[in-house]
């Protein structure tokens, strides 16, 4: 087991380092083969680890941070949660690596791209497998760094670089909250070990558990693009599409859900924190779905749908349904990666056009893209019997079964969101794949890229078997996670069927609505429709409820403006000049007196005297 875990991390680390240092000197084919092999080798290790898994294992490899009682070793922890996520991550990332080889075939800077891709896998696995919080934080920041550099991969366009920067800084705000939470836990327990902390939560007063839980929630909001820190994810679509699929759909953005699930035995001790998580998730799910309704950029629709789907996962965590949240996380990784990779095929075929109103009729031209993409959309919409249906439903059921008006209203909101989700999913399908045809261009690379979609489509469609409801024979995840899930209330088969019936009806209803609205439209109609001036509501949704504009006005502009003022007016103007004035004043009183006339000097003296008085007063106070 030790060997599997070590190799799982070392392969991508090695692949990434070699490509970064020597990638430009090595033959391109070798680099491409090397990075793919590294991830698939990790996958093999993950599968072997799964095969030999008997119970939670923790393995220490060596020291990292070590100062007195502060100990953060390189220490990995394998339990059902980290194991299932590792397998998924290696598999999805492996497929996306293969896809990228073809997607990026015409890019000269392949070494940098693949190095970052491999390093990302390393950081992500570290995040998942870390036994202690500082090591988790290393992975957490590592994926953020790779995301930053990959979003801005095409760096000559400063918009891409700006999008990367926005993602990095916004998530860093959440990360800092997480860091405060870690510091607080260290203060209380003197340890960073996650299993130990999870076991000691009950020792603390309720209020402190709540506060730390909220700090972790803010950390998760940043990484998992939850309201109000979600603004970076739509912009992050500026990165190459495989990056969007891998980082901004399947793996990194779900890290927040993972963090909260990982720490749930601790933070679940506070009902207030759970409610906060559930509210965040419910609102975000609704927010993302409404915004997705109005988007015209293929990737932005998917980005907002990701925000929305992660909201569902959060809602599940908030309802205490860790298994359900993880179930949805896994299935979502398959179908959302599928949708992004499918979008990559469409965009390639459309000569890098991303406006869905300019697409149409691709069903017949790109059948190998269409069918998997349809499967992905069906999962997203929650069409009965797809994997997405079962996973989303298990979250809805858990929320429904929680007591209280809060969870009941969140359940209703989640149902409404499900309806919207189905509607925008099929809006996408109708606009892109139906209607009159546009010219597309297919080439050899596209063929291979499309084949990658097939396994993902199968996993998305049949992912439900991971955790079937009780009346269909019970779930694998449920029993696998059994001992640690907790908080989930049992429910009868009849209740389950009834709930699924409601969700299924809504999904079908959304499909029909989309069919009615977009099904028969010709291309000319659409172009006309798209060129009319958008209504205020439409613009509101298109611009993501104007959060960007708000943050720009209340945070970014003041920060930039004040930095200039503080520098030139205060730091150089007051502090520096007063000190300068004083030092020259010590020697050259004459010149000093001469400056009286300007009136500035009195300000310096005043400010300096005031500062001096404060310090002297403080010292005198200590003396007494």
């Amino acid at each position: 087991m030790t060997l599997y875990l070590a190799l799982m991390l070392l392969f991508p680390l090695l692949g990434g380092t070699v490509s970064a240092l020597a990638g430009r000197k090595l033959p391109r084919r070798l680099v491409e083969a090397g990075v793919c092999a590294a991830v698939w080798a990790s996958f093999v290790c993950a599968v072997l680890a799964a095969a030999s898994y008997r119970g939670p294992v923790s393995v220490e490899f060596g020291r990292w941070l070590s100062a007195f009682d502060l100990q953060a070793p390189i220490h990995l922890y394998l339990d059902p949660l980290s194991l299932s996520l590792s397998v998924m991550i290696c598999f999805v990332c492996g497929l996306i690596h293969v896809y990228s080889v073809y997607y990026m075939a015409d890019q000269a800077d392949y070494a940098r791209f693949f190095a970052l891709l491999n390093l990302f896998v390393f950081a992500m696995l570290t995040l998942i497998l870390a036994e202690n919080l500082p090591l988790l934080y290393l992975g957490w920041e590592g994926v953020g760094l790779c995301s930053y550099l990959l979003v801005g991969f095409w760096y000559t366009d400063s918009n891409n670089a700006t999008a990367g920067r926005k993602a990095f800084i916004t998530t860093r705000i959440g990360d800092t909250a997480l860091l405060v939470g870690i510091a607080w836990l260290f203060q209380l327990f003197g340890t960073f070990s996650i299993p130990q902390i999870n076991g000691m939560g009950f020792l603390l007063p309720h209020g402190i558990v709540t506060a730390i839980g909220i700090l972790f929630l803010v950390g998760a909001m940043g990484k998992s693009a939850q309201v109000p820190l979600m603004v970076w994810l739509p912009d992050a679509m500026a990165g190459p599409t495989p990056v969007s699929a891998m980082i901004h759909a399947a793996t990194m953005v779900t890290a927040g859900v993972y963090l909260l699930s990982r720490m749930f035995p601790f933070i679940g001790g506070s009902a207030v924190t759970c409610a906060a998580i559930a509210i965040t998730g419910g609102i975000t799910a609704f927010y993302g779905a409404t915004c997705a309704l109005a988007q015209r950029d293929l990737k932005k629709v998917l980005a907002f749908s990701t925000i929305s789907q992660i909201g569902y996962m959060m809602l599940g965590v908030g309802a205490g349904a860790i298994t359900a949240a993880t179930f949805h996380l896994l299935v979502h990784a398959f179908f959302k990666a599928l949708l992004f990779l499918g979008a990559g095929c469409v965009i390639t075929a459309m000569h890098h056009e991303q406006d869905i109103y300019k697409m149409g009729g691709l069903k017949d031209r790109l059948p190998l893209t269409f069918w998997p993409f349809l499967a992905g959309a069906a999962c997203l919409a929650g069409i009965p019997l797809t994997g997405g249906f079962f996973s989303k439903d298990s979250i809805l059921a858990a929320v429904f079964l929680k007591e209280g008006t809060l969870y009941t209203s969140l359940y209703l909101l989640a149902l409404l969101t499900a309806l919207l989700t189905s509607y925008y999913s099929f809006r996408l399908i109708y606009l892109v794949f139906f209607g009159s045809q546009v010219h597309v261009h297919t080439h050899g690379e596209l063929k291979v890229m499309q084949w990658v979609l097939v396994p993902l489509a199968l996993l998305g469609l049949f992912g439900g078997v991971l955790d079937l409801p009780g009346y269909l024979g019970g779930g694998f995840l449920d029993s696998f996670f059994g001992h640690q899930a907790g908080g989930e209330v049992g429910h009868s088969a009849a209740q389950e069927v009834a709930l699924q019936g409601v969700a299924a009806t809504l999904a079908i209803f959304g499909l029909l609505a989309a069919h009615w609205r977009y099904g028969g439209k010709s291309r000319v109609d659409r172009v006309r429709e798209s060129s009319t001036r958008p209504s205020p509501l439409y613009a509101f949704l298109l611009n993501g409820w104007y959060f960007d504009r708000l943050y720009h006005a209340i945070l970014i502009r003041p920060y930039e403006y004040l930095s200039g003022i503080l520098w030139e007016k205060v730091d150089e103007g007051v502090i520096d000049d007063s000190l300068d004035g004083m030092s020259s004043g010590l020697g050259i009183t004459g010149r000093w007196l001469g400056r009286w006339s300007t009136g500035k000097v009195s300000l310096y003296i005043l400010s300096f005297a005031a500062g001096g008085a404060v310090v002297l007063g403080y010292l005198a106070w200590l003396t007494l």
Partner: protein
């Protein structure tokens, strides 16, 4: 090694002896450079050799606890001034850093300095002697001599080989630090007289003076004088304004040494002398130090964001990063202090590297304006790679060196003073903001004007690669350094 081998004296005076060697070959600039490189490398080898003594573990004969190398001799008997040098784990780490960074400083000056080459390298070596003396001197008079001695070469380095308003900046640098030093001298003498009056033995020995009984009211003032001198060097808000000017106008190697080493002497002085001499006063002043360090962390980071000159940006970032060091010292817990010491090393490596990089860009285009650059990644990938690496290290990305120090300081301080640490956490976000702005505007985007840029030469690549390896090593495996400083920190904080 034989126990009577004067390795500490050699460490302090080898560079100064090297000056004589340079004098012998002063006719050839090339030989002077080679000579300086040989001397600094020998000094580095000597420092590494000193690690062996640390590994041996046993204390030197007659040395205070924790000091594994110690040398003590009568010097000016009349005034009780002794020639006392001693090396414990903290000194060792600082001596290693000094030897390492001086080699780097010689490396980055190779092509940039074309005038008065022999004098330049002589000053560089003289400064190294002074700095090593500061890190090793245990007699307060001796310490004070080294403290003043290291200023003079830096004054000339900025004044002669600097850019822009170099004379103004040099004088400013000198006046600020000198003014602080004078206050410290007054405090030292006052302590000396008081101790003499109490015990009848007049001495400057640190380990004697520690036992002086000073009434609390007086101790506050004496500590304030020490603190003032060290705070200027640090620099702590609001005494930091000499730093941006000195950095901006200094030659590259001057900036490297200033940031990596001279600032550390302030922190070192506080750890070695300030806190141990006046523990109660220091404890009482801790809230003051917390406040100015947190303000410094936020202030430096915020103002760095507005900078147009890369050197000035890095200078303000130093104000911010050194705030973490001050925070860790003020907390004075074993963990926080470990973080502070390792943050001193990390800041030395990272900021030294950033100044070296800015110097390399400046040599190529004669501009340090951020606005000159843009989109240079495609042109100079190797240089850009290092630029990104050190910027990310500076932004505290885990796995690289700065994170280790910041993290340990924050964890340690939070335990003692959660309020102060909470303020410092804000700095974690602000640091990233100015760093990614720098990265984006220099490396990414479109080229603003066509620049004649060549990628790294072998010499430059070597300098940066060595620093890069240090940054990654300290980020991934800082445990050996943390082990070295563990014993002295346990002794200082009274924790076992």
């Amino acid at each position: 090694m034989p126990t009577d081998f004067p390795i500490l004296t050699l460490l302090v005076f080898l560079p100064l002896a090297g000056v004589l060697a340079l004098f012998a070959v002063r006719k050839s600039d090339e030989l002077v450079r080679m000579g300086a490189l040989v001397v600094t490398l020998a000094e580095l080898a000597l420092s590494v050799w000193a690690c062996g003594a640390a590994g041996a573990g046993a204390g030197a004969a007659g040395a205070p606890a924790g000091f594994f190398l110690y040398q003590d001799a009568q010097w000016i008997e009349r005034f009780g001034i002794r020639y006392t040098l001693g090396m414990d784990g903290i000194s060792l780490v600082m001596v290693l850093l000094t030897s390492f960074i001086t080699v780097i400083a010689v490396g980055v000056s190779w092509r940039g300095i074309k005038e008065r080459v022999p004098l330049y390298y002589a000053l560089l070596l003289a400064m190294e002697s002074g700095i090593q003396g500061v890190f090793l001197g245990l007699d307060l008079f001796l310490f004070y001599l080294f403290w003043e001695a290291m200023l003079i070469p830096m004054f000339f380095l900025i004044g002669i080989w600097g850019h822009g308003r170099r004379v103004y900046s040099a004088v400013k640098f000198f006046l600020y630090t000198f003014f602080g030093s004078l206050l410290m001298l007054v405090a030292i003498i006052s302590l000396y007289l008081r101790h003499g009056a109490q015990t009848g033995t007049y001495t400057f020995s640190l380990f004697e003076l520690i036992h002086t009984t000073v009434p609390y009211g007086t101790a506050i003032w004496l500590f304030a004088a020490f603190l003032f001198a060290f705070a200027i060097k640090f620099p702590l808000f609001p005494l930091h304004t000499w730093l941006p000017d000195a950095h901006t106008d200094a030659p590259t190697a001057g900036s490297v040494i200033l940031a990596s080493l001279l600032l550390k002497t302030g922190a070192y002085g506080l750890i070695r002398f300030g806190f141990p001499l006046f523990p109660e006063a220091a404890r009482a002043c801790a809230p003051l130090i917390y406040t100015v360090s947190v303000i410094g962390i936020v202030w430096g980071a915020w103002i760095a964001f507005a900078q147009r000159d890369m050197k000035r940006l890095v200078a303000y970032s130093s104000v911010s990063h050194m705030g973490f060091v001050a925070l860790g010292i003020a907390a004075w817990s074993p963990v926080a202090l470990s973080g502070a010491v390792i943050q001193m090393v990390n800041h030395g490596v990272t900021t030294g590297a950033l100044f070296a990089l800015v110097g390399m860009l400046d040599e190529r285009t004669h501009s340090r304006e951020i606005a000159t650059y843009g989109g240079i990644w495609g042109k100079v990938p190797a240089l850009s790679f290092f630029f990104l690496l050190f910027c990310m290290a500076s932004a505290g990305v885990p796995g690289l060196n700065n994170f280790v120090g910041e993290f340990i300081v924050l964890m340690g301080t939070f335990k003692v003073a959660p309020g102060a640490a909470a303020g410092a956490f804000v700095g974690v976000v602000l640091t990233l903001i100015y760093t990614v702005r720098l990265v984006q505007e220099v490396l990414f985007g479109k080229e603003k004007k066509p620049l004649e840029l060549a990628d790294l030469s072998v010499r430059e690549g070597g300098v940066l690669a060595v620093l890069g390896v240090a940054a990654i090593y300290l980020g991934v495996h800082p445990a050996p350094v943390l082990d070295i400083i563990k014993v002295p920190i346990a002794l200082l904080t009274g924790v076992k």
